[in-house]
Subunit: 655 residues, 2 copies
């Protein structure tokens, strides 16, 4: 395949890039054909030299570390050289420049190659590469944002394309920036369904600014991939999903450069370049050899032999990296400002999911960086209220929760405040992405509706009963659980104002309004909503069980028994002091009641808060797999009703 | 499209099915062409009558329940009529007959249609349909195995095809039964990545006994799907994934029947029939109308009008259902029998993941129903040891964890004992499927390796730190956590012998052997491995932290402080009595130490066990997002090392 016209124009049109340098090197222009030919030959030669350097750095760093994945770095070295030193436009002095082309290493185990590229770009000193995988180094085994040029963490395969979808949505529809998003995938990881969720969405939204490259080295971790070197099969699949596809030899710059130019020329489709490569390319004794996944070359003979084959490092490769354009990306950091206050008649019954939708729509008016994504449940989560008020900032992600979350992370890393909603139960579909969003240090908000047995007739598959456990186990994640529409609205704004991961749990049934419109709900707080000096025990509840606790309070009061009732709207962090104080007033006894399984939920949050105290905690929660039925029947059947609370209070106070 | 030869031969070759009946009806054979034509016309007429009955039942039952999804039932009624009354072969008296064709309703919200089909098949009384969604009914809002004919629970979309892959793998490669697996999908759910994971695997394993039907009614829950009625796009995608595809009009039996016959004729490929339908088909005022998803017709005017349009129920439709073949499926229920005992030199260091692999290979020899599946990590989880001893019972599922788990559930429901393994961190990718496996009452075993920070240099993306929280929150799931290779081997056999979900957590680093080969490890037990009458505090550990606790014991002993050490190998159920007894002996003080986040793990299991006791629990766990580094450095850095334990013991005993 010959170099086509695209490459030439494309390279020669570059300013202030390397043309002047080449002209000097090549001397006064003679016949421009010859000049151009020379120019391109020189460029390719330089890119080959850079690729060799990347290979040398990759095997040296992993041998130094004594572990890592050198062979997968070698298969992608030529592609990465073309991307970093010819194709991509970025400001080497500013990782956060909003107009930089973005690069996502979906095959995160090739991290040494990524670090080598930044070293060769002059962004980090080459010596630093030798700190790879050390505890005090920012160059981790798989990329994390501890290294400033890594915007998103990767390493759990099959997630990079979704992250790219989020960034591409932002560039095309929100920031209107001309940056492109490049995602380098491994061939093995295309078996992950998340890749196809992203592929479908990317073509649906015509993301021509999204460019993927599949590195087809034909080896997975433990054996050959399903399709070995069958480039056509990969192309057929992405084509069927609405992508422009280009199959190339991933070690031949005569094919790599034109393919990247063709990708840039796309007007209404994302492009997937499928590149046939060899794992270990460039080092004879590991090239295309099995059982070399995730193995470093032993220092000494093996490493020396490999380095000898690769030849010396090219110290002077006079390539200039093209800077990004200077368009105003429109990115502004705006803290959530005051929203229109809640406004409900005190006698109205409103579901907390309704409060969520109303609050989110108001927040969208207050803060232009807020965006909403939903997985075809917007008429149940009430994200549709945001959509109708702010259609330009709502993205329908259809029934594909992994990509829903992945794209949300991508948007967050581009300065937006994404609210990602679906049924609480279906967020479990994206738990790996949620886990990775914490490692990516993403400022993302998750909203799960239809929690617990109180959804009723739809049955267990639709009930979120492990969602609190899921999110409490995410480091630094905040877990909020409103009990009425007022707190739901307020907590939406609180979530947006908090930098980091927040989970909002909402319920399906309509419930009474409990709070005044001006009530505030700080993270880490709780509300003592019933108290007297005669309280014998404290009931700690959340969401719909707050209303059951209030009913229990009434029943017991009629019988002359006083109990304290706490609305634990902030499940994580939890208000340990308030819980201890309440216990101290009420015979060192707490009863927790939650519409969640007993493990990892509100009850365990309370237990943990008083673990080292002499306080008894009695947990009421949903045990066993629920079934279909009326909400009130199920709440009764599973022992989290007012009656169950009354009985438990009698049991524990009888002692 | 005319009825092709296939249908005729296929139907006429049926014994003891309806031919005799038809011949009687049609009278002495004249010209066989005419006879055959008549036969088919009569059959189609009967199938239409059955479809009408299914529609009547579906809208009546949902109106009676006051909720549900009638319109999605109406779009699939003709397809289901053809499947249940002409295509599928099953024993109406035996839901468990191993040779029955299997049917999976991936679009689980069409449950009323499913129940209607079983009523029309004479399996459940028609009156029972009116109990739909009631708390004492087995006919739930979405299908669960509480209804015997529902083998697998559905309702979380996009999972049915994987369940079908597992059943088809079993039929083709293990039982060698001639049953076919039919999966009915909604169009919206094909956005789920899990569908494409299953699609890739099904063609890779040439599952010609797997037949899918996509019901393209063009509506999701909240709006049009991405592709509306674009049948070709769906066909192109499945074709690119290696399937035979057939696009049809899903309301025309002249197309439905031949398509199903063509699917049956497949020899080396799975088949996907893509059927264009109308949501609400048959009832004019809801047919192909938006905003009718998940809404029942109001009893009274709406329902009456709909019933009037559909006409009367056809009480006498003389259709016979073809029974399954009588081949011996080879299914035997065999309890795990005694395995070859562990055999390690006491001075050898072996990782628990190694013990898992060795134990699993031995178990495979002891029990022919044991099968193993892994997601291209078999050389890390050591499932490869099973593969090399029992290649015919190992299935490589590549890097696609949702389908890995879904297929495992399908195999479990066909009488196998699947051990599903990958890194503990990557099981989070399939948490929704794991959640559904409990609702499906599946006898499945999950094995997660590389748990915790002790994996070292690969960094946080590869560390399972929320896996215990995940599995503890699954009702009735057993969570086992071996600390040495002997207990790992023994617990593999214990897991197989237990009916239900078991999670086995294994570690990467090599650790000393702690137990004699003949030691037993019952579920719900623990091992007190250090004790004296002078113990001041009890340290409760699991996996690698058991070894840290033993070191701490030694350090403290040298200083004259005695501590008790418990190996909590059974995290769920937990040995509450042993924990209380130990606390009673050691100043009511427990210290838990785990290579897991603080929420939902071993520490919380202990807290829950002593929640109502006057016992102080001090938790040591991994806080914050870890990083790359040497295992011992990370164990130290995150405060779960011997030194950290020693310090904590001193702190709590100093008081």
């Amino acid at each position: 395949m010959a170099v086509n016209k695209n490459v030439l124009t494309h390279n020669l049109n570059r300013e202030p890039k390397t043309e002047r340098f080449f002209l000097e090197k090549i001397g006064p222009k003679t016949n421009s054909e010859r000049r151009i030919k020379k120019f391109v030959e020189t460029l390719k030669n330089f890119l080959k030299q850079k690729a060799t350097n990347l290979r040398i750095h990759s095997i040296t760093a992993t041998s130094e570390a004594g572990s890592g994945h050198p062979t997968t770095c070698l298969s992608a070295a030529d592609i990465v050289s073309a991307l970093f030193f010819d194709t991509m436009r970025y400001d080497t002095n500013d990782a956060q420049n909003p107009n930089n082309d973005r690069f996502i290493l979906s095959k995160g185990h090739a991290a040494p190659l990524l670090y080598a590229a930044y070293a060769e770009a002059g962004i980090i000193p080459t010596e630093k590469l030798r700190t790879l995988r050390q505890i005090d180094s920012i160059l981790e085994g798989h990329p994390t944002p501890r290294f400033a040029w890594t915007e998103v963490a990767t390493g759990s395969l099959g997630q990079g394309l979704s992250l790219g979808v989020g960034m591409a949505l932002n560039g095309k529809y929100l920031d209107k920036s001309d940056y492109r998003v490049y995602v380098l995938l491994g061939d093995g990881e295309t078996a992950e369904g998340g890749v196809w969720e992203a592929a479908a969405l990317a073509s649906h939204y015509q993301l021509n600014n999204l460019i993927g490259i599949v590195d087809v080295n034909a080896f997975g971790q433990s054996q050959r991939t399903m399709y070995a070197f069958d480039v056509d099969t990969y192309c057929k699949r992405f084509e069927a999903f609405g992508w422009q596809t280009i199959g190339i030899d991933g070690h031949n710059f005569d094919e790599i450069l034109p393919a990247l130019d063709q990708a840039k020329a796309a007007t209404d489709k994302p492009t997937m370049i499928v590149a046939k490569t060899f794992k270990g390319k460039g080092v004879s004794f590991i090239e295309n050899a099995d059982n070399w996944h995730g193995k470093a070359l032993a220092k000494g003979e093996d490493l020396d032999k490999a380095l000898a084959e690769l030849g010396p490092l090219h110290l002077e490769v006079p390539i200039q990296i093209e800077p990004p354009s200077v368009v105003d990306s429109g990115v502004r950091h705006i803290a959530a400002i005051e929203c229109e206050p809640p406004n409900y008649p005190s006698d109205e019954e409103v579901a907390t999911r309704g409060g969520y939708g109303t609050g989110l729509a108001k927040l969208g008016t207050a803060n232009p960086n807020v965006v909403a994504l939903d997985g075809d449940t917007k008429n149940s989560t009430y994200a549709e209220q945001f959509m109708s008020r702010h259609p330009d900032r709502y993205f329908e992600m259809f029934i594909a929760e992994q990509n829903l979350v992945g794209a949300g992370i991508g948007l967050a890393k581009r300065g937006k405040i994404p609210f990602v909603s679906t049924f609480a139960a279906f967020l479990s579909r994206a738990y790996d992405q949620i886990r990775m969003s914490a490692i990516s240090q993403a400022n993302i908000k998750y909203a799960g509706s239809h929690c617990g047995v109180s959804i009723g007739e739809d049955g267990p598959s639709q009930m979120g009963l492990e969602d609190i456990a899921m999110f409490r186990a995410i480091p630094e994640a905040v877990v909020l659980y409103p009990s009425d529409a007022v707190s739901a609205e307020r907590l939406v704004a609180v979530a947006a104002a908090h930098e980091g991961i927040v989970y909002l749990r909402t319920s399906r049934p309509k419930t009474p309004i409990l709070y005044d419109a001006d009530e505030t709900f700080p993270i880490g707080g709780c509300k003592v909503i019933r108290r007297s000096n005669e309280d014998t025990v404290t009931v700690v509840a959340g969401g719909i069980t707050v209303h059951e606790a209030l009913k229990a309070h009434q029943i017991l009061a009629a019988e002359g028994t006083a109990i304290r009732v706490i609305d634990l709207y902030s499940v994580k962090p939890v208000d340990a002091e308030a819980l201890k104080a309440a216990a101290a007033d009420t015979n060192k006894t707490l009863i927790t009641v939650e519409d969640h399984y007993p493990e990892g939920g509100l009850g365990d949050a309370v237990l943990d808060a008083v673990a080292t105290e002499d306080i008894c905690v009695h947990k009421l929660a949903v045990t066993g797999i629920p079934r279909s039925g009326k909400p009130e029947e199920l709440v009764e059947h599973h022992g989290i009703s007012a009656n169950a609370i009354v009985q438990k209070v009698k049991d524990v106070t009888a002692v």
